[in-house]
Amino acid sequence: MATLEIHDLHVSVEAENGAREILKGVDLTVKAGETHAIMGPNGSGKSTLAYSLAGHPKYTITGGTVTLDGEDVLEMSVDERARAGVFLAMQYPVEVPGVSVSNFLRTSATAIRGEAPKLRTWVKEVKSAMEQLQMDPAFAERNVNEGFSGGEKKRHEILQLELLKPKIAILDETDSGLDVDALRIVSEGVNRVRESGEVGTLLITHYTRILRYIKPDFVHVFANGRIAESGGAELADQLEAEGYDKYVKGGATA
């Protein structure tokens, strides 16, 4: 069973006036079958954590370790991390003109699985996954994310999650910008993947709304670049009632 261990992770970005530290010592362990919600106010570093784990070049790791089943993730290139089983569903997926969704999905699945999926079963697999996400089949012939609506982009991210079956799924604000119907469809997709029991999920969100559809085992409050408080699902209810005020103020005076 897969385990992602983050220990004392420090991350900074280059800003106008030199490097700025965003993550200030994050400790977190995510095991297969578990769902961790990471909640926090804007600017607390949630997305930085997501992109640092995926290996975005903008972020510099200045301290700490990240391992997946004991393997050093930080030593791996972006594509090596993906092939090792780390998946990041992005908040703002990028347009890739000239590359069709079907070509992209097949190239990606070939890279992740280590061999080209058999054409016949692959076509069926993609078709049924798209149907479940209520995506028009014509979608497959469009260019990756080009002209997609916000909801289409998120469905496309979850489609990839379902097809690529990672060990660790990091969902970065997948709920943002979705109406209730789209949120339900996307959440059902995530739940199908979770039901396998073989994926550890890191659900990054600003709002508690998505947690009505995707029940977390653990909730962590992120503030000022680290986890300020951890608890069970009841912590989300508390946040819903009280907001992030006490963490923001605590961060400001610390």
């Binding site: 290996g55 290139s77 972006v78 997926p93 890739v96 070509n103 190239t107 890279a111 260019n143």
Partner: protein, 392 residues
């Protein structure tokens, strides 16, 4: 209309649409078209038609110092029924499709020894392409070729440029009434070659002309694909594909003159660039004259910049002297294959070199599929792969 996104440093994309204004296409040129090189001043580099071209790398083609001292091995494989002649410069077919528009084209006209005329006779429908292979063996050569595709004939012509040398030429395409001509011109020169050529197509009544210009090689390549119409109902499709590497200059300067009613033109040029000093220039001029009612025209240029240090100048221009047209438009865009796209593809397990290949293949695929000459399509795709391997 002109659009721009994510433009790499140093690149420009500027377009203009002028309606019933004084023709900038004509006034921009420093001299009117002429067959005589003496009618053109030696360019100094600041003229509109020369401002993007590195004159120092023209090996004297522009200033009269280049002399015909080279060898160009020419081979023409023509299917049965097609005639190939070597003719003197007085032949009436020479220069009929168009007049040189810059000093180098005029120099080529003033300097060629004998012209080659390839004739596809009236109503002949060729099942095999006419293949012209020009292999440079060093030194400077001047040439003039006329392809006379007569009424209702159908032909595919492939002109292949390889090897090394300095080449200036004019190529005329006479497309007879109701004829269908597809021309593929491949510039697959060694990286030391210099090639300046003017392609003139004169499209007959209800005739169809399809030109595919493919430029990979050369130190400097500067081409003028030009189209005008001899009667109503003509259609021109001009497709272009270039892959500009470090220190290469590849320039395509197109002009479509709509001078007859109810004609169509459709232009799509796409280029990829990589490496320090790679420079691509695309000028797309369309002129709709007062007489050209019912014109339908569109032109597009897309550039994909794969690395830092490459530069694109893309200038579409449209001049309209009549409002009685079906449609007229243009678009130009130059974008980078950027770090965010690379990150996205890599985050799905695709290695960096494969990601780049995926994007470039996708960028060109649609254009390559429109060529319709199988062995050329395959060769292009293979060539694109080779170019990409060199980059990673």
């Amino acid at each position: 209309m002109a659009e721009a996104q994510n433009i790499p440093a140093g690149s420009t994309t500027a377009g203009a649409i002028a309606v019933a204004a004084e023709s900038t296409v004509a006034t921009r040129m420093s001299a009117p078209p002429s067959f005589d090189v003496a009618d053109f001043p030696v360019p100094h580099g600041r003229e509109e038609e020369w401002r993007f071209t590195p004159l120092a790398r023209l090996r004297g083609l522009h200033d009269g110092t280049a002399v015909a001292d080279g060898t160009m091995k020419a081979q023409i494989d023509a299917p049965e029924g097609v005639t190939v002649e070597s003719v003197e410069r007085g032949d009436a077919r020479i220069g009929k499709a168009g007049t040189p528009v810059d000093r180098i084209a005029a120099q080529a006209f003033s300097s060629f020894a004998k012209a080659t005329v390839v004739t596809v006779p009236k109503e002949a429908v060729l099942t095999e392409p006419v293949r012209v292979s020009l292999h440079g063996e060093g030194g400077t050569t001047f040439g003039h070729t006329v392809f006379d595709v007569q009424a209702f004939a159908e032909a595919v012509i492939v002109i292949d440029h390889t090897g090394d040398g300095v080449r200036a030429a004019n190529v005329d395409f006479l497309v007879g009434d109701g004829a269908k001509l597809t021309v593929v011109s491949v510039q697959d020169w060694d990286d030391t070659a210099v090639h300046c050529s003017q392609h003139n197509a004169l499209i007959g009544r209800d005739a169809t002309f399809k030109s595919i210009v493919v430029t990979f090689g050369g130190d400097l390549v500067r081409l003028h694909p030009r189209v005008s119409y001899a009667g109503p109902g003509g259609e021109a499709e001009l497709l272009g594909l270039y892959f500009t590497d470090a220190d290469q200059h590849q320039e395509h300067r197109l002009l479509v003159t709509h001078d007859a009613p109810h004609c169509k033109s459709h232009v799509v040029y796409k280029g990829a660039l990589q490496g320090e000093g790679a420079h691509a220039v695309w000028i797309g001029d369309v002129l709709i004259e007062k007489s050209a009612e019912g014109t339908d025209t569109y032109e597009m240029n897309r550039n994909l910049v794969l690395t830092d240090g490459a530069r694109v100048d893309s200038v579409p221009n449209l001049e309209i002297e009549t409002g009685e047209i079906v449609g007229a438009g243009h678009a130009s865009a130059t974008g980078r294959f950027d770090d965010e796209q690379l990150f996205y593809l890599q985050a799905r397990g695709i290695p960096a070199d494969e990601a780049r290949r995926l994007v470039v293949r996708g960028f060109f695929a649609e254009l390559v599929q429109q060529i319709g000459v199988d062995d050329i399509e395959e060769r292009l795709l293979a060539k694109i792969e080779t170019e990409l391997e060199a980059s990673v």
